[in-house]
């Protein structure tokens, strides 16, 4: 039975879970999507613990609201939409928390900039650290552009899928991606020079 389920597509599995309440189908979907969703959410948030919670919350929502899924849409776009919404909510909550905690440190209530040691040349040693630098640069990109860039260049999705996930037309998706890439290029310019 489980072998047969593994052969089913995402849409067939969720239908199986919807109609027959086959929990094994749901488990297979979790196995399929836990890593892609974790990667997507982590690149968006930059916080692994928070990312894990968001992905689990996404799966719980799929479990609880399985009946709201319509077979017209792809399962991947549906689950990414849920994950994207939850990730955005978490990101805004983190930003509010950081704003209130850091803004009180500086003298005369001036915003306090944390010293970023990772950009020092002696610190940049291996690719692991470069990944971290790219991640930090990605987090500096505007929220809407960042999500589109991650879905396109990291998750490898089509413009059509991204437009469905973000709920905007393809033209908007493309412009967001280009603007995000442009921002990243500026932010990563120094690293490119050093690596070359």
């Amino acid at each position: 039975m489980s072998k047969n389920l593994r052969e089913l597509s995402d849409e067939e599995l969720i239908l199986e879970f919807q109609k027959n309440n086959v929990e094994a189908a749901f488990e297979i979907l979790v196995q399929r999507y836990k890593n892609p969703l974790t990667n997507f959410v982590f690149r968006f948030l930059g916080d692994y613990a928070a990312c894990s919670d968001v992905v689990q919350e996404t799966m719980i929502k799929v479990y609880r609201y399985k009946d709201t899924y319509s077979s017209v849409a792809k399962f991947s776009t549906w689950v990414y939409t849920i994950a994207g919404n939850l990730a955005r909510t978490e990101y805004r909550r983190q930003r509010r928390r950081n704003f209130f905690s850091i803004s009180d440190y500086g003298e005369e209530h001036k915003p306090y900039d944390l010293p970023d040691e990772s950009y020092r040349p002696d610190v940049i040693i291996d690719s692991g650290i470069k990944d971290e630098i790219i991640q930090k640069a990605l987090l500096k990109v505007k929220e809407a552009y960042r999500e589109a860039v991650i879905l396109r260049d990291i998750q490898g999705m089509s413009y059509e899928e991204i437009s469905e996930i973000l709920g905007v037309n393809e033209g908007t998706v493309k412009s967001r991606i280009n603007r995000g890439r442009a921002q990243l290029q500026i932010l990563l310019k120094n690293i490119y020079d050093e690596s070359c």
């Binding site: 488990e27 979790v30 196995q31 836990k34 890593n35 969703l37 974790t38 990667n39 982590f42 690149r43 692994y48 990312c51 894990s52 992905v55 689990q56 799966m59 719980i60 479990y63 609880r64 990944d131 790219i134 991640q135 990605l138 860039v149 991650i150 260049d153 990291i154 490898g156 493309k174 280009n178 890439r181 442009a182 990243l184 290029q185 990563l188 490119y192």
Partner: protein, 242 residues
């Protein structure tokens, strides 16, 4: 489109080269635990749902209950606190209805006069009887030898005035004028009588509360003689004045 991708090829390559972040090893176990805990909470809620009202209705029911309580509280404490500057003064009809006091006074006097005239008409036979009684009592007083000089004088004056009126054109002076004179002489007259005089009411002699002296025939003769002498003296004085 392709130009854009070429333009940002380096960035795209860097992003694609990022290591894939994987879910934690205990991800599925944690997920199962959370789902089971939520199931348990759902069952517990289901139990409470059987007892209590649905959770969605609680806020609306609370609001409705609060509205009912407020309504009854306001209803019991319904003493309206009015702005004293906006309240119209209470109209006292007993005061405001009477505006023309002179008219009221005249009406009152007319009513009194009517009532008195009616009383007089009713008491006419009784007055005749009284006069007879007075005459008899006069006889008794004369026999007793009692006499009041002041009253005598007044009686003389009254008679003189009557005579004078008859002489000068038949105008009879009402008894009330004498009563008024006697009031001024006698300070013992009650205040009611004086007030009625002030109001312009006619008061008969019988209504006055003073002692009436009954004269005997002999005394009456003496009085008549005195009257005559006084009349003669008055006539003389009138002639001299003319």
């Amino acid at each position: 489109m392709e130009n854009d991708e070429k333009k940002y090829q380096d960035v795209i390559n860097k992003l694609k080269g990022l290591k894939e972040v994987k879910a934690p090893a205990n991800f599925e176990a944690d997920l199962k635990r959370r789902i089971n805990s939520e199931k348990f909470e759902g069952e517990r809620k289901g139990f409470w749902k059987n007892i209590l009202v649905p959770a969605k209705l609680i806020p609306s029911l609370g609001l409705a209950a609060a509205a009912v309580v407020i309504f009854f509280v306001m209803e019991t404490n319904s003493e309206e606190i009015d702005n004293p500057f906006l309240i119209e003064p209470r109209v006292r009809k007993d005061v405001t209805e009477v505006r023309d006091y002179e008219a009221l006074k005249q009406e009152h006097q007319k009513e009194l006069a009517k009532s008195k005239s009616l009383e007089k008409e009713k008491n006419a036979p009784a007055l005749v009887l009284k006069q007879n009684e007075i005459k008899t009592s006069r006889d008794e007083n004369v026999s007793g030898g009692k006499k009041d000089d002041v009253v005598d004088k007044l009686m003389n004056e009254q008679d003189l005035a009557k005579d004078k009126g008859k002489i000068e054109g038949g105008i009879s002076i009402p008894e009330s004028t004498f009563a008024a004179i006697t009031d001024s002489i006698h300070p013992t007259v009650p205040s009611e009588a004086s007030s009625s005089l002030v109001a312009g009411q006619s008061i008969t002699k019988d209504e006055l509360n003073f002692r009436q002296v009954q004269l005997s025939p002999k005394e009456q003769k003496v009085v008549n003689e005195l009257k005559k002498t006084q009349v003669q003296s008055l006539e003389r004085s009138n002639r001299t004045q003319k």
